[in-house]
Each structure stands twice: as C-alpha cells, then as structure tokens.
C-alpha cells in the first residue's frame, strides 16, 4: 500500500522562508506562469478553471467554481487535487529540487487559526528568491498590510462556529442558514434563488480570508483569486477543516445522488480531460492518496463536542422583523434597529410559545467591489458596553467575496442575482439575551463592526478609505 502524501502546515516547517517544500512550490509556480494560457497546466488556465475574466471563455472546464452551494467543498477538493498533481509533476522535473522533496511534495496548507500563524507565511511575502530572482509566491495584488506581515483578525479565521454545525446542507428556504457545507443547489448556485447563502465554513473563515488577504486585489475576486499562490494553501486549509468535520467532529456528508454523482471536469498533469464526482472524493486518504499532517483523531464522543439539539421544524421560517431602509457601510461601525412583530404563521398555528430557531439575515448586499474587509455582526450590544468585540453578542461575519460577480449579467455563474445574502442561526444567543433580560422585541439592535488586517509589527495602521457596501435589509426570521 502506498503511503499517502502528507499536506503540511506551512507554519510548522522551517522558520526561514525557504524550506524545501515552499521553494519547490515557488519554482513550480514560476514554471506554470511561463506556460501559455492555452495550456491547461498553465497558471493562467488553472486560475480560469475557477472563473474567467472574460465570460465568453467558459466551457466545461473553465468558469466552474462552486460557491453558495453544497458543491463548494467537493468541487474545491477536486480542483486542489488536480492542481497539486500538476505542481507535483513539475516539481519532479526541476533540477534544483532534492529527491526527497520530489518524492513527497504535497500542497501545504495555511492554518491561520492556530495562534501566531495569522500572518501570511514568510515565503509569500519575500520580494526575492534566495538567488535574487523575483519571488513568484509574492504578488502586490494583495492587501499591503498582509504583505508587510500584518495578521488576520481572530474572528475572521475561526472555524469554531462552522465545526459546531451538525448538518452539511439545508434545502433552500428564505431566512434559513444553509448548514456546514452550503445549500442544496444545482450547478447554477448564485442565481438559483435569492435566498442562497454560503455554508458556515464557506462564510468564515473562507470568505473572510479571501477578502482580507486580497484587500481588493487578486484574492478578493472569483476570477483572479487563484492567481495568488496563497489561494491554494488557503483552500487546502478549508479542505482540511472539512476532513476534520467529517472525522473528529463526526459530521455526515450528504447521501443524495444529486450531490454524490454530480460530474465535474478537470485536466490532469498531462493536460487530459478527467472527470470526478463528490462521491469520488469523500475519503482523502483512500480516494485521493493524501492526508493532513494535523488531523487529530476522534478524541471525544461527538455528543460531547456538539450536544444534540432537536432538529429544526419542517415548516418555513417566518419573517418577523426587518429594517425598511438600506444601510451603507464604509469602514466604520454602524448599528441598525428593527422591531419584531409577533409571529402570525406556523408558530401561531401550532401554538408554539417560543420559536425553535431564530435566524438573523443580512440581505441584498451590493458593492462596486470587494472592500477587502469583513464586518462582525453583533446583536443587542448594551449602549454602555465599551468593548465592541464582545463575543457574548457575536452572531457571525459578513464579507464580500463574489460581490462583483453576483451583479454580472454576462455570466451564468452569477446569474445576475445582484447581491449577496448571509443567514446566521442566533437561537442560542437570543435565548441567552432573554435570560439576561437583554431581549426587547420592540428594540432589537444589530451592530456591524469592521474587521481589518492588523497593522504589521512596528507599522502604524494605514488609514486608507474603505470602499462602501450597501446592505439592503437586515431581517429576523422565526421558525
């Protein structure tokens, strides 16, 4: 039996930027960048597999990225697998790479949530390779602070909420969060329905890290994100978190044929067409021949990690309150207030005293471009609470990866829906607020607090203007 390749945490490798693994990656990226865009194993082509700058360029292989969908995790797992094989094949031809690295090279991952690892790995910040050549892992199409060693904010990198989610997918239903892996959709994710929201893991840390690292540059947009070499390490971490969820957290993947058997096209290292389905990639070691270096075995019973809660009712969620004017966010904290009507639908008909679930929605989010920051969302922070980042009131993050494409009527990918939407399950938070007498249905307040890349050590925080974002509606649903 062949030993699986091991995807390593890049921050655990040698402290100097140029460990053998990062060096081999840099040289392979340079080789891919030198290949013509028409070559399926080239850097530009591989980026276009995610999304193409020109919408007319799409085909069965390009412009295929899956977001706001239950295909988000399996599609990106396949995408990384074939990319890794292309890079490995190139690494094995490079004269400057030692034999051990040639034999074992696997895509590293960037675990930004381990403490002290929230800055971009050094090899991606260096201007030059050790021999003085330009560093292909560095791009100026990033947030300048992240390139200077600034750290990602903790709320943007935490997968804690995502890993605590028990359901992989939820059917599309207005107001209802879509589960760990994203809503049940077809290929046409953004446009299928105005209620599609990203899954928990896609929302945070995935979307946040895209926006914050990109800062309006490559990582901020669908069609340019994979041009930044750190894209692949970010997604390796997201893939690791999925493997962690199904492993240590005993999360269950969908069993539906519509999910398992969906066919996606890629190119292998020889440039040949290959197809894969989510059902082909469920076990990374057995199916794909790799594992993650840091993958704790199941150490506790899942019940101890996630106390079982009753499943949500089957009936639709009911809108009980919403703002009636849009809110513009321009980089400062902002608060909106909404009043809540008593439910008059299923909850009333079923004589339920309290909602089983409470969902906060941030809807119709529009922007000319990704502002490169996230906003943490809080509920009913007391006026005298000086600490805006009071976790007791924290609901989740809103970020803007894909905001440009959502409005693009020239693309099937976005479908022209025009906006993004986020849904948060705040049932436990509301119960807590009720117990602490901080819940007034007449006066629910939702606060948005900007999350930025921390200033690099020894550098004053830059005061660049933040491009505005418009939130069409903030709403509350009971179920």
């Amino acid at each position: 039996v062949t030993e699986p390749y091991v995807r390593q945490d890049i921050w655990t490798l040698e402290a100097t930027p140029w460990n053998s693994l990062a060096m081999a990656y840099a040289l392979a990226v340079r080789e891919m960048q030198a290949r013509p865009a028409s070559d399926p194993t080239s850097w530009v082509y591989q980026a276009s597999v995610h999304a193409t700058p020109d919408p007319q360029d799409r085909d069965d292989w390009r412009d295929q990225c899956q977001h706001n969908s239950w295909f988000f995790l399996p599609w990106h797992r396949m995408y990384l697998y074939w990319f890794e094989r292309i890079v490995r094949a190139i690494v094995q031809t490079l004269e400057d790479v030692d034999d051990s690295t040639k034999d074992t090279w696997a895509l590293p991952y960037w675990d930004y949530d381990r403490g002290g690892t929230n800055a971009l790995p050094p090899a991606f910040r260096e201007a030059q390779l050790p021999n003085g050549d330009d560093n292909p892992l560095r791009t100026d199409e990033r947030n300048p602070s992240i390139n200077a060693g600034g750290g990602l904010p903790g709320l943007a990198t935490s997968a804690q909420n995502a890993l605590a989610e028990m359901s992989f997918s939820e059917p599309l239903m207005a107001g209802v969060p879509s589960g760990f892996g994203g809503p049940i959709t077809g290929w046409h994710h953004f446009a299928e329905n105005g209620t599609t929201t990203p899954g928990e893991l896609e929302r945070t840390p995935h979307n946040d890290v895209h926006g914050l690292v990109g800062g309006g540059g490559f990582m901020s947009r669908f069609e340019t994100a994979p041009l930044d070499p750190v894209f692949w390490l970010h997604h390796a971490n997201i893939d690791r978190l999925w493997a962690l969820w199904t492993g240590s957290f005993a999360g269950e993947n969908p069993l539906a044929a519509a999910w398992l058997d969906r066919v996606f096209h890629f190119h292998d290292e020889g440039g040949q067409d290959v197809t894969m389905t989510p059902g082909d990639v469920l076990d990374v070691a057995a199916d794909l021949g790799y594992r993650y270096a840091d993958m704790p075995a199941l150490v506790v019973q899942p019940e101890a990690v996630m106390p079982p809660s009753p499943p949500p009712p089957e009936h639709p969620a009911e809108l009980v309150g919403a703002t009636d004017t849009p809110l513009e966010l321009s980089g400062d904290a902002a608060t909106v207030q909404l009043s809540i009507s008593p439910p008059s639908g299923p909850l009333r008909a079923l004589a339920a005293e309290e909602p089983n679930r409470v969902y906060l929605n941030v809807e119709d989010i529009e922007a000319e471009r990704n502002p490169g920051i996230s906003y943490a969302v809080y509920v009913n922070v007391p006026d005298d609470d000086a600490d805006a980042a009071n976790d007791v009131h924290y609901a989740g993050n809103v970020s803007f990866f894909g905001v440009e494409q959502a409005q693009d009527v020239d693309r099937d990918h976005s479908g022209g829906r025009g906006s993004l939407r986020y849904a948060f399950d705040i049932s436990d938070l509301v119960k807590r607020l009720m117990a602490e007498h901080l819940w007034d249905p007449e006066r629910m307040r939702v606060m948005f607090v900007p999350l930025r890349v921390e200033a690099p050590p020894g550098v004053a925080a830059a005061e660049a203007a933040t491009p505005p974002v418009r939130v069409g509606r903030v709403s509350l649903f009971y179920r």
């Binding site: 639709p316 009507s341 809807e363």
Partner: protein
C-alpha cells in the same frame, strides 16, 4: 388563526405555508382555462363578444387575435385577450420569484406581496402589449396569417441567440430589498414586479410577438413558447437552453407552414 383557516386541514395549511405562490399559480391556470375554453367555442354572434350592433358573425377564435383589425373586436377585448395570454404564459416562470418574495415578507402580507408583484409585472406587459397591438393594427399586419406568424417566430429564434436575451434572462433573478410593512412594503413589491417585468419583457418580447398574430395555431404556440420560457428561466443554466430554443422555434415554423 382565522376562523376560516382553522377549518382547513393542517396538511393543506402546511402545503400553503410552503407554497405561498399558490394564488398566482391559480391566476395562471385560470387564464389557461379561459383561453382553452374560448378557443374551443364555436361561432358566436358578435353581440356576445361585446361588439356593436350590426357587426357580422365571426368566431371566438378569430376574436382572439389581439392585432386583428376587425372592426367588430373592440380595443378592450383585444387588450384583455393579450393580458390573458401574458398571464398564462409569463406567470408560470415567475412562480419561484413570487415564492421568494412571499417567503421574505411578513406572514400576514404574503398574499398581498405576491399579488402586488404580479400586478406590477403584468402592468409592464400591458404597456408592451398596448404598443405592440397599436403598431400592428396601425400597419395593418394581418392576423392569423401563417407566413407572418412564421416570420416573427424566426425573429424570436434569432433573438434567442443574442447576448441581450441571455442578459435579460439572468436579470430576471435580480432581487430588491423589501421593507417589511406599510406603504414602503407595497412600493418595494411593486418595484420588484416592475424590475422583474422589464427583465421579463427583455427576455421574452420576441416570444410574445407570434402570440399577437397567431391564428389557428395559437394553443400549439402558447404551449410551446410557455415551455421554452419556463425552461429558460427555471432550469439550471437555463441561459444555455437558448441555443436549443432557437432551432426548436425554427422547427415550429416549419411544422406550422408545412403542416
């Protein structure tokens, strides 16, 4: 819970909870029913059609050509028939959007929200129909002429292949912020309906041209064109179906002219 609602079995109430678009589906079905019934009706006296005294006998079928310049068919009837056809053909593909709108409205406003949206949407088609029928009547475009209908079907087939058609199809998925209550809520639903209606006219204006002129093939064309619209707007990557729709429309033209 209202007294009426309390007598409805929970199973049916649950279905209505999940499908608040049922009322709009009912409007579409009713429009189909009226059009089929009238289509099947035999010759009638002009008086029954609301025409002026002295008009000669014609058929209900003939009356259903909105662009017919026949003096016995008043403007209101032509426009009414146009709206029936629009409701029958355009509302089915709008049902997911109506559902989305209702699900994002306060529970007590779900029905009102959906109907406001539909009135606004049909209002856009009313204006388009008014212009279309006036122009066709002014230029004395003959109604019920297979050659003319075939020609406009080919125009529709050509439109299917344009980028503008695909853009309009995608724009049908655009959402708007919906204030929860009061006049702002009504205005929001109306704005959503107008926005959707404009995108819908952009996507389907060419498909509705033959309907203004169709004669004996009307029901056949209605079924075919409604299926095209529902598939393009409702199916996954429906915009790609425009490439299939174009040859289907050319085929329909050939069948109509030869058959």
């Amino acid at each position: 819970v209202s007294v009426v609602e309390a007598h409805v079995p929970l199973r049916i109430r649950r279905a209505a909870w999940t499908h608040p678009e049922w009322a709009v589906a009912l409007v579409a079905l009713s429009s189909w029913a009226v059009l089929v019934l009238v289509h099947d009706a035999g010759p009638i006296d002009a008086h029954a059609a609301g025409a002026t005294a002295g008009a000669h006998v014609h058929t209900m079928n003939g009356m259903l050509e909105p662009t017919s310049a026949h003096p016995a068919v008043p403007w209101t009837v032509r426009q009414g028939v146009w709206m029936l056809m629009t409701a029958a053909m355009m509302l089915p593909s709008s049902l997911p959007t109506v559902r989305l709108l209702a699900m994002n409205s306060l529970w007590r406003r779900r029905l009102r929200a959906g109907l406001t949206f539909v009135v606004a949407l049909l209002g856009v088609w009313f204006v388009f129909g008014l212009i279309l029928i006036s122009v066709a009547t002014a230029f004395r475009v003959p109604a019920g002429n297979d050659l003319v209908v075939g020609t406009v079907l080919l125009v529709a087939a050509g439109w299917e292949l344009t980028q503008a058609k695909r853009r309009s199809l995608r724009a049908c998925h655009r959402t708007v912020p919906l204030p929860p209550c009061g006049w702002r809520a009504t205005r929001g639903c109306a704005r959503f309906g107008i926005q959707y209606g404009l995108a819908c006219v952009g996507a389907c204006w060419a498909l509705m041209l033959p309907m203004a002129l169709a004669g004996a093939h009307r029901l056949f064309l209605m079924l075919l064109l409604t299926a095209v619209v529902v598939a393009e707007e409702g199916l996954e990557r429906g915009t790609r179906l425009t490439r299939v729709a174009a040859p289907v429309l050319v085929g329909a033209t050939i069948v109509m002219l030869v058959g």
